[in-house]
């Protein structure tokens, strides 16, 4: 590179350059003149205006919190509401000796160790000039006492604040979720989604369930109040108020009384129930047992309660309806039947053997039926009614996974239903691709699909794993002859300002292209389950409407029960899960239900009575007079359901194929 020397440029260029310098100088002068003009405008011409503004700038803008939207059930019964209560708040920057002040306040109101702990937490999170809550929900008497002493309590304020309340507590915990204090993570999210203006002065945000999913609807938009303040920043009087826009109200498709009936039928047992209106996709009930009290979380749960909930072996915090993955057991058979009819694997009247066991060609391993003597011979309809395992082993073997998988996938099995709740599990609808991916870290022979894998899948065991919500959704799709909806809890959203009612999901998303005669056939077969000879015939007694259903028994515990060994629970946890899916009235179904009762044995014994009670209530309004009586009748000797007994373990045996169980 040549060293820069004195300019070689001729004079003409120099003139050019000097001209540009002059232009730059003039440009800068001009721009500064613009600025000077702006200053003259602000500081001379508009001086009086701004001077007044500055003097009144003892006026501060205070955000006014909107009321959070209400949540009601389909009949207008309130499930989530707000109530007003007093809180005691301290602004440290305005209080001289904070510790002395707290001691002084302790003589006026009762301060528990929990209040103090929470107060310390708020102090560390908030800025010094922001008020921190010392005690929530003061009694009227306490509020009056503090107010009367207000003159000697600088920086102390009693404020009316709205609190959230869930009157049905455990019953709605897995549906509504809860709101909680806005934490650092929430703050980040709010900033990222550019919603900071919406959360000025806000303390709480939806954390789980509908409260979280519909946060934007429920939250509302804060208003402003112009408040004149004294030199200490204390509000003297309100000058102008821009009212907040309150949150929108949600009306659910859910029927809280139906939910309550289901809950009572469950009693202390664990499990889940989902009921869907097949004609609208509205979720009529969604229960996960056990639940928890959502109120505990609103202002920060205390350590002991959290420990209790989190370490409970029954896992009350897990939403089983949404996240519990269970093999569907024999409730899978009607859908297998649809696949068989649609693919032409079997004719409607074709009769096949249904012996006591099934063996693969060239193998001595016996896939045994739950009924050791077998069911003789049967057509598809009878095979569903009596829940013949060998019939479906053979059917699955004949069809192969490639013909089963696409049809069942259309019923939404193995994919998210798209319900308006967060955290839905996907489940497993087995296929060759799935297996290769699932075991991709293992040796190739474990990844390859083995024809025998399909056998136990045929009766809803093996790799199959679905959520109760998926089973209810699939049942609803079948009941509605292939009309597919996104299941939704929220039916309407009412705008708080205009009163305009917005309907959610009124139209089906798509229509499955299966033959009507096949729907009719399978639905009729499911009616047969509740008729003499069917596995749930006892349950079908005294019906005042036509009901169709299917029992099931799931063998594998899929919910992770935590690492801790619990001797008391273990024996019970080894028992099978009881399944029942049903819909009614059979001619034009308005309710489809899936019930699972964990570790309760045969499907017909535990889950079916719950479904019967729920559907009875929904269609006839009859509350089961005595739940125990109902359960007793049903629990009496039933035809054992399929795929359960020790001997007929349908889990693939090492002798026949070497698939690792998921």
């Amino acid at each position: 590179m040549p060293r820069p020397t004195r300019l070689k440029t001729p004079r003409a260029d120099d003139n050019q350059f000097q001209l540009r310098l002059v232009v730059a100088l003039l440009f800068m002068l001009l721009m500064f003149l613009v600025l000077a003009g702006r200053f003259v405008w602000l500081q001379v011409i508009q001086y009086d205006h701004y001077s007044t503004l500055a003097q009144n700038n003892s006026i501060s803008l205070v955000p006014v919190q909107p009321n959070r939207g209400l949540i009601t059930d389909r009949n207008g019964i309130v499930l989530a509401q707000n109530y007003s209560a007093y809180t005691l708040e301290i602004t440290p920057s305005k209080t001289g000796d904070l510790e002395a002040m707290v001691v002084q306040l302790g003589t006026l109101v009762e301060l528990t160790p929990r209040d103090m702990k929470r107060f310390r937490k708020f102090l560390s999170e908030n800025k010094k000039f922001e008020p921190s809550v010392l005690k929530m929900k003061l009694s009227d008497e306490e509020a009056a006492r503090v107010a009367a002493n207000g003159y000697r309590l600088p920086g102390v304020e009693v404020k009316a604040r709205l609190f959230r309340d869930y009157p049905y507590k455990e019953l709605t915990s897995h549906v509504l979720g809860y709101i909680g204090r806005i934490g650092p993570r929430d703050k980040e999210n709010i900033a990222e989604e550019q919603k900071t203006a919406n959360y000025r002065g806000a303390t709480h945000i939806g954390k789980l369930g509908l409260e979280k999913v519909y946060e934007d609807e429920l939250r509302g938009i804060p208003g402003f109040e112009e408040v004149e303040t004294d030199y200490l920043g204390r509000a003297i009087r309100s000058l102008k108020r821009t009212p907040p826009k309150n949150g929108n109200d949600l009306k659910l498709a859910l029927d809280i009384r139906l939910q309550d009936v289901a809950d009572k039928l469950f009693g202390q047992r664990r499990g889940a129930l989902v009921a869907i209106d097949p004609q609208t996709g509205g979720v009529l009930a969604l229960l996960s047992k056990p639940g928890f009290d959502p109120g505990l979380f609103i202002d920060g749960i205390d350590t002991q309660s959290w420990k209790n909930l989190n370490e409970d072996w029954q896992k009350p915090l897990i939403n089983r309806a949404l996240r519990g993955l269970y093999p569907p057991g024999s409730t899978f058979k009607p859908f297998m039947g649809m696949a068989a009819l649609e693919t032409g694997a079997i004719g409607p009247n074709e009769v096949r053997g249904a012996p006591g066991y099934f063996t693969l060609p060239g193998s001595s391993h016996r896939f045994r039926d739950s009924k050791p003597s077998g069911n003789g011979s049967a057509n598809l309809s009878k095979a569903i009614a009596v829940s013949s395992d060998t019939f479906f082993y053979k059917l699955a073997w004949d069809m192969g996974i490639d013909r089963i998988h696409p049809v069942l996938g259309q019923f939404g099995l193995g994919s998210r239903t798209g319900i308006d709740l967060d955290g839905e599990a996907i489940g497993v609808l087995p296929s060759k691709e799935w297996k290769a991916k699932r075991f991709s870290k293992m040796k190739p022979e474990y990844q390859r699909w083995i024809p025998a894998d399909v056998v136990s899948i045929g009766i809803g065991q093996g790799f199959n794993a679905y959520t109760p919500l998926q089973m209810a959704n699939a049942t609803a799709i079948l009941a509605a002859d292939g009309k597919v909806f996104k299941p939704h809890l929220v039916q309407t959203i009412t705008d708080s300002k205009s009163g305009k009612v917005q309907l959610v999901e009124a139209r089906p998303q798509r229509q499955l292209a299966f033959k009507q005669q096949n729907y009719d056939y399978i639905k009729q077969a499911m009616e047969g389950v509740l008729k003499p000879g069917g596995t749930a015939w006892r349950l079908g007694q005294n019906l005042t409407y036509r009901m169709a259903g299917k029992t099931g028994t799931a063998q594998v515990v899929q919910i992770k029960q935590g690492a801790k060994y619990n001797a008391g629970a273990l024996a019970e946890q080894h028992r099978d899960h009881s399944w029942f899916i049903a819909f009614a009235p059979a001619e034009k179904p308005t309710i489809a239900v899936a019930v699972i009762v964990e570790n309760a044995g045969f499907g017909a014994a535990a889950a079916a009575p719950v479904a019967r009670g729920v559907i009875d209530y929904y269609l006839t309004g009859k509350v089961p007079a005595d739940v125990n009586a109902l359960l007793q009748t049903m629990a009496q000797a039933e035809t054992p359901d399929s795929g359960v007994s020790e001997a007929s373990a349908p889990v693939p045996n090492k002798k026949t194929h070497a698939s690792p169980s998921p």
Binding site: M1, P2, R3, P4, T5, R6, L7, K8, T9, D13, Q16, F17, Q18, R20, L21, A24, L25, M28, L29, M31, F32, V34, L35, A36, R38, F39, V40, L42, Q43, V44, Q46, Y47, H49, Y50, S51, L53, A54, Q55, N57, S58, L61, P63, A191, E192, Q194, T196, A197, R200, F224
Partner: protein, 365 residues
């Protein structure tokens, strides 16, 4: 006869410095200490820090003023390259702060590579033209533009529209002084105005909101609009003569956000009024005029281009900051040169001033 050793030391210290620039900068420094004291609620914490980083900045300024410009110029290509590589690294591994990816975590410290580019980019363009002196064709301007656009686009992607614009403009100033055709300049200006709707289309939400806030600050009176509303009130209520030092109510009642950094001009303006504002404008204009004089006298092409670019960039910082606080430009994070509190900005400004003085020195040696 030998002069006193202290006198000789003094002489060697002031020898590389430009007397006029030092005078103006010194006045600006005194003024900035006064404002900072008032803005930080009459406490000394920030004053102490400012003294420390100002001393450091002066050291850097002196070192650059003492160096020969052509020596410093040699560093242009490597520094530029490292800067571009760091920007790419930010793109790949950067930390996201406030929704944009500007920082690079080097384990021991986090750096913002766009800061390096503030000086490296105009240096690189000036170096390029010096390198091709005497044989400059139209396509040299295209290459110059490419040198500007590569880091410019990388910073734009972070996304940091404000910094990207400032840095690219400092490069464009070099092109301007290098004799870019007037037709091209006017054409590009017209083209830019015509493409504004398109620019709007590609803007991020927060950037659009800043522009909207400028047009109607009352939209979010507790948020973005708040800064502009409160700073305009501060300036306006200062009146012709100001409320007096330490007597700004807006400032002392904490209505001015970021009042020691980007919005420090509101504090100054409230307390010293229109008179103070005009004095500040004059002071800046004096620095700028001196800068242009140095540019005019520079003896190498590189010297001319760098001096011109440094001067115009300095002007742009001052103008954009005051315009923003006075509510006629959107809110972008630009400090008021040598007045706003902040070490990084001061150091890079000092580097610019040091280079300017070293260019001024060349014919004195």
């Amino acid at each position: 006869m030998h002069p006193h050793p202290l006198k000789r030391l003094w002489h060697s210290i002031i020898q590389p410095l430009d007397a006029w620039l030092m005078l103006f900068l010194g006045l600006l420094f005194v003024l900035s200490l006064l404002v900072l004291y008032s803005a930080s609620n009459e406490t000394f914490g920030k004053i102490d820090n400012k003294l420390v980083y100002s001393a450091l900045s002066f050291g850097i300024l002196w070192l650059l003023a003492w160096s020969r410009p052509q020596t410093v110029m040699m560093f242009a290509p490597p520094v530029y390259l490292v800067g571009v590589l760091l920007l790419v690294a930010v793109e790949l591994f950067g930390i996201i702060v406030n929704g944009s990816q500007r920082w690079l975590n080097l384990g021991i410290m986090r750096i913002q590579p766009s800061e390096i580019m503030k000086i490296a980019l105009p240096m690189m363009v000036a170096w390029y033209f010096q390198h091709n002196e005497g044989q400059i064709r139209w396509w040299h301007y295209l290459v110059g533009l490419a040198i500007i656009l590569v880091p410019g686009v990388l910073i734009l992607k972070q996304p940091d529209l404000g910094t990207a614009t400032l840095i690219m403009t400092s490069g464009l100033f070099v092109l301007f002084f290098a004799g870019l055709s007037w037709k091209v300049i006017l054409g590009a200006g017209a083209g830019f105005l015509a493409s504004l709707p398109l620019v709007w289309h590609f803007m991020h939400d927060y950037q659009r909101r800043r522009v909207l806030t400028l047009l109607d600050p009352t939209q979010d009176p507790l948020g973005d609009g708040y800064h502009i509303i409160q700073s305009t009130i501060a300036i306006g209520s200062g009146g012709p003569w100001g409320k007096g030092w330490l007597s700004g109510t807006q400032t002392h009642l904490e209505f001015i956000p970021e009042r020691t950094t980007d919005f420090i001009f509101a504090v100054y303006s409230e307390e010293f009024g229109l008179a103070g504002n005009l004095i500040l404008l004059l002071l800046y204009m004096a620095i700028l005029s001196r800068g242009l004089m140095i540019t005019a006298r520079a003896q190498t092409l590189y010297g001319r281009l760098m001096a011109g670019s440094i001067t115009l960039t300095f002007f742009m910082y001052a103008f954009v900051n005051m315009g923003m606080v006075a509510g006629i430009l959107p809110v972008v994070g630009v400090p008021l040169p040598f007045v706003s509190y902040g070490g990084t900005a001061t150091v890079s400004l000092a580097v610019g001033m040091g280079m300017l003085m070293s260019i001024a020195n060349i014919d004195r040696r």
